[in-house]
């Protein structure tokens, strides 16, 4: 691990200010992904800003009828929250399908959104990877690609997004709240910089596809800190998260389907394990009353599977079919 300096931040604005001031700084919360990558020197921050003391660890009911989930709410606590279990079952199920009990006790809501891919070539410093080292090439294309993306990838990268939680957040139309430091031109403006600038990013606009720049994974600015994730008021329906993987527990998805199905067969569906981001298309959801084959045809219309992961095309259709059958009861 490369050496780094360390500080504990006490407010979101203070953390954002520290990030803006310090070259090579990163925030650390649960640390379950970041420390793993630091040990492998894939991540080499010069400075860590510990945000665990920011008191962003509450789930609050908001006046419009939704929930505001603090960025530091641990995955275990979010999955077990009675309001989430009752009204956003898809989110509880997705969280509980991921990682292990130990990891969910540490991992945070914001950190889960920002997980890096588990592409084995991203982890192997001896091989090219455009995400790890921009411009070096992609060893997954033409390599062992059984686990990789079938849709949304590019000639530069076919890595998948690993999060289960983010698939549920996509279907639930979550909004990511952030803060960043104001650009301060003089000492006199220091007071105005105190509170920082906030913004809300709908999750549909949060993740970026790899294109030519697979190292840029989302629309956060450098030093921008996630403070909360909000959920709109509950939409009812049957919530199902179905994850297909190589082991029954503690494995990343080959394919996962997060769905909210209403009585009339309409609803929402998002996929995990098949794309560089949680995969959801309005045109596909319009086909939901016509069944899994029609929905899958739209979801995967632009798919470019490799020889090794072409099985995911059929696996998506069959998993979605099972989910829709379960929803019909």
């Amino acid at each position: 691990m490369k050496s780094f300096t360390y500080e504990r931040a006490h407010t979101p604005a203070e953390a954002a200010g520290a990030a803006a001031r310090t070259e090579g700084a990163k925030f650390i919360a649960g640390g379950t992904n970041l420390l793993d990558l630091m040990k492998l020197e894939i991540e080499t921050p010069a400075h860590l800003i510990d945000v665990n003391g920011l008191a962003l660890d509450k789930v609050e009911t908001i006046p419009e009828g939704g929930l505001r989930i603090g960025a530091l709410v641990r995955n275990t606590d979010l999955a077990a929250d009675p309001r989430v279990r009752r009204d956003y079952g898809l989110l509880s199920r997705a969280l509980l399908a991921g990682a292990s009990g130990q990891l969910r006790n540490m991992a945070t809501t914001a950190g889960n959104l920002l997980q890096r891919t588990r592409c084995p070539y991203f982890y192997d410093g001896n091989l090219p990877c455009n995400k790890r080292k921009p411009g070096s090439g992609c060893a997954a294309i033409g390599g062992f690609s059984r686990q990789h993306a079938i849709v949304g990838g590019s000639d530069a990268c076919i890595a998948t997004h690993p999060s289960d939680m983010a698939v549920a957040m996509m279907a639930l139309e979550a909004v990511v709240e952030t803060v960043r430091a104001r650009r301060v031109r003089s000492e006199a403006a220091g007071a105005a910089a105190g509170s920082g600038m906030t913004r809300s990013i709908p999750i549909a606009d949060f993740y970026r596809l790899p294109g030519e720049t697979p190292h840029v994974e989302n629309t956060l600015e450098p030093g921008e800190l996630i403070t909360a994730v909000t959920l709109p008021k509950p939409v009812g329906g049957t919530h199902i998260y179905r994850k297909v993987r190589d082991r029954a527990s503690y494995a990343f998805a080959l394919v996962s389907v997060g769905a909210i199905v209403q009585h009339d067969g309409a609803g929402r569906v998002a996929l995990g394990g098949v794309a560089p981001k949680p995969w959801r298309l309005a045109a596909a959801e319009a086909e939901m009353p016509r069944g899994a084959k029609a929905v899958t045809a739209r979801l995967l219309a632009d798919a470019k599977p490799t020889r090794e992961n072409a099985f995911k095309m059929k696996l998506v259709e069959r998993t979605l079919g099972a989910v829709l059958a379960e929803a019909r009861g």
Binding site: D36, N52, S100, G101, Q102
Partner: protein, 169 residues
């Protein structure tokens, strides 16, 4: 270097550490509590599981300096050879190990698993999210999946935990 103070098994500990030191290395290399084991060092095997403020975590994937003021329990704090924790005694009785390397992590994890079920925290295999989870072998297997045993003592581990879970229920 950075300073950090926390309690380990009830005793106050003040350390000055390289910021890179994981909680696992602080316990083993600086406090010489070698009951907690380093297996994969990447959060995949569970050998390093300890209990921090009542919750089990992988001590290899957290920095020691992130635990200012925390209360840490390791296998040494659960029991000793002359006064075994009930789960330690059950692992002996049911032969819940072969080489024993994963055992401290298995036992720390199991202690927390029983607390999690008692607290009503659901799991991937809980049939109804809005009902209290049950103490079943299926629940224990799912909840213990973050602890790998290369010797394959899993069925005996489930037997050991089931005996203690039954006593608590």
């Amino acid at each position: 270097m950075a300073k950090v103070s926390f309690t380990v098994n009830g005793a106050n500990r003040d350390l000055e550490l390289d910021t890179r030191t994981t909680l696992l290395d602080a316990l083993r290399e600086h406090l010489h509590l070698t009951g907690t084991k380093k297996g994969c060092d990447h959060g995949q095997c569970g050998a390093c599981t300890v209990i921090v403020d009542g919750r089990r975590i992988n001590s290899c994937l957290t920095l020691a300096v992130m635990h200012e003021g925390d209360s840490i329990t390791t296998i040494e704090g659960l029991g000793a050879p002359d006064r075994l924790h009930p789960l330690q005694a059950a692992f002996v009785k049911h032969d819940g190990y072969q080489c024993g390397y994963c055992t401290p992590g298995q036992i720390c994890s199991a202690v927390a698993v029983l607390d999690e079920i008692n607290a009503g925290i659901p799991s991937h295999v809980s049939a109804d999210l809005n009902e209290r989870p049950q103490m079943t072998a299926t629940e224990l297997r799912e909840r213990m999946s973050g602890n790998i045993c290369r010797c394959g003592a899993y069925s005996n581990i489930v037997d050991a935990i089931t005996e203690i879970a039954g006593r608590q229920a």
